[in-house]
Amino acid sequence: MTASAIPVPRLHIVTGKGGTGKTSVAAALALALAGTGRRVLLVEVEGRQGIAPLFDAPSLGYEERHLAAGLDGGEVFGQSVDADEALLDYLTMFYRLGSAGKVLQKFGAIDFATTIAPGLRDILLTGKLKEAVSRSESGRMTYDAVVLDAPPTGRVVKFLNVTVESGRLAKTGPIGKHSRSVARMLHSSLTAVHVVTTPAAMPVQETVDAYKELMSADLPVGHLVLNKVAGAKAVEVGAEEIKAGLERAGLHSEDDLVSGLVEEYAAARAEIESVDAYRDRLEQLGRPVEELPLLPEGVDLSGLYQLARELRPGIIGERRNG
């Protein structure tokens, strides 16, 4: 890695409107970041178990587990962080609670604490991320990068900014102190928040809104990912020509088939043309825009690697230039 004044992001937070494919993009990003000899941790926080099926792996737990080989032989690990376990972890670490922790859990106190202290859940989750980012083993960082499949755009700023707001409620005590150190990392150039969208009006609008919200909360926006872009060519073609073409190719050319194809192609063309408008709109925000193809059969493991290869030049290339 080249030395530079601005540290490269090591915590990648991937958000997006529901249905835009943010989990697949987060997974592909983790694969792309896991170049030769690198270790990447892919984390989900809301117990959705969206990551495991993409890798054909059993459900993820609180323990970090090897998930897949990255591009060029790095390694990707997966983890599903749960707030209750994170609190127990935290209490054990700071208070040497031992079995008392289990008693508290049985008593419902853990659930209670993570519920009442508003945002304590999110503080614990983001705290766990910070721990993973800063952990080191025998003199080297345990993970070269941590990728988070984050809550959707509507909730992500609240999620990331909770450590700032918690100051109001936990002025004293270790949670308050802890919050402030997590907040510092999240607002630094160690972190990049990537926003995923599809080429459609509502997700693009939400991306623009999320961008503004992230900027005004002083959170570092990374790349904007335009996902599920249909890759067809725009050609000029009419019904007569289609009819003739079908006959040349030895297919029946009933009117129904021809009019169906005309209708489909008109819609596809409109979509292709609108992609340019959406890309322009995103580029106006002044952040790099990455484009990912629509995989017609949905995203499976080989599709993830394909997306990872598409993402790599834009995201890793920039890092190399430092």
């Binding site: 959707p152 936990a170 169906g260 949905g298």
Partner: protein, 374 residues
């Protein structure tokens, strides 16, 4: 595969015994749009006095319904043809404030509003939105002003939150841990504390340390002031929950043809069945529209044949576009079929994506007509 029963949307919307339709599903499946379209159709086609309670509509949908401002009371939607449609957007904080204000003296209410813990719970607690949606539903129902209330549910991390969160909030505000805390505030019954004994001491010590002492005091004061103002959140939440079980209510599960959304729909269906909630159907939105009847394989074969003589044959491009659509559609149908396999008795309606964003009442009308198969 056995034939899946079709969902008769018009029969449901026109059923005079149904007074609540709740649209549930994970985020990004078109829940709000579906709720608005069904409400409009109930008003216009079935002449019912309808209100739609939306949670967080996209801006243009909100504009088309005239609910851009959060005023927390239903307003008539202009330009509805026949019947009447009102719409509102839920203001979670204000609903909570109203609940408090309606159950206590102004002085006491002011005290509660000023409590930092109340402020946090009423605006940020993750279950509050769900609880307040139920509360608002109860309020709207009690007025008797509408024949039909169509409810959009909050954009939770999981559709199940809508069922679980109110009980969770109630448990939290009504639970034994809170009692324990209220008991340890000055002036309260000391006996509670000794009853709980050593574990209570450990508990308070640890949490005072971790959270900072004043937070627990705020919580304790808050719950103490709630105790005597209204008779238990738990009871309230339970009553609303029970109201959802009667057969005047209808649940619709909304999904999109993606593995996560369909998985969520299956879980939600199971929960509804377990809780004996009246589930009437599943609506699958956003299928890729396919207009030409030709398999992907034949389209690709024909495209390859055309490209042999002209690599840039425009008809080949048309055929490849069709093949992509057909493959997408087939993959989506395979995902969607998981629902029918897991929940064969639930009537379904599959809807192709409209291709355009819903921006006005005409778009909603078209959506509603498609949903009804009209």
């Amino acid at each position: 595969m056995a034939e899946v029963p079709g969902l008769d949307v018009d029969a449901l919307l026109g059923d005079e015994n149904k007074h609540v339709i709740a649209c549930c599903g994970s985020g990004g499946v078109g829940k709000t749009t579906t709720a608005a379209a069904l409400a409009l159709r109930a008003a216009e086609v079935h002449g019912r006095r309808t209100v739609v309670l939306t949670i967080d509509p996209a801006r243009r949908l909100a504009q088309s319904l005239g609910v851009e401002s959060l005023d927390n009371v239903p307003k008539a939607v202009a330009a509805v043809r026949g019947g009447s449609l009102d719409a509102m957007m839920l203001d979670m904080k204000r609903t909570f404030d109203e609940v408090v204000a309606s159950h206590t003296t102004p002085e006491r209410a002011a005290e509660i509003f000023a409590n930092p813990f109340y402020q946090a719970v009423s605006s940020t607690f993750s279950g509050t939105q769900e609880y307040m949606a139920m509360e608002k539903l109860g309020q709207l129902r009690a007025t008797g002003e509408w024949d039909l209330i169509v409810l959009d549910t909050p954009p939770s991390r999981s559709a199940l939150d809508f069922l679980d969160a109110p009980a969770r909030l109630a448990r939290l505000l009504d639970g034994r841990v809170i009692r324990l805390l209220s008991a340890s505030t000055p002036g309260a019954r000391r006996s509670m504390l000794s009853l709980m004994g050593a574990s209570a001491a450990v508990f308070t010590r640890v949490f005072n340390k971790v959270l900072g002492g004043h937070l627990l005091t705020d919580v304790a004061e808050f719950t103490a002031s709630l105790e005597d103002t209204f008779g238990g959140f738990r009871k309230r939440a339970e009553a609303t929950f029970r109201a959802l079980q009667d057969d005047q209510t209808s649940f619709l599960v909304i999904a999109a043809p993606e593995p996560a959304a369909v998985g969520e729909a299956v879980y939600f269906t199971r929960r509804l069945t377990e809780e004996r909630m009246p589930l009437d159907g599943m609506i699958l939105n956003r299928l890729t529209p396919v207009a030409a009847d030709l398999t992907a394989e034949r389209a690709l074969g024909a495209a390859a044949a055309l490209e042999e003589s002209d690599a840039d044959d425009p008809v080949a491009a048309v055929l490849r576009t069709h093949a992509d659509l057909a493959r997408r559609r087939a993959a989506e149908e395979r995902v969607a079929a998981r629902y029918a396999a897991a929940c064969p008795e639930v009537p379904q309606r599959w809807l192709p994506a409209l291709g355009v964003e819903v921006v006005d009442l005409d778009d909603l009308r078209a959506f509603g007509a498609a949903a009804a198969g009209a």
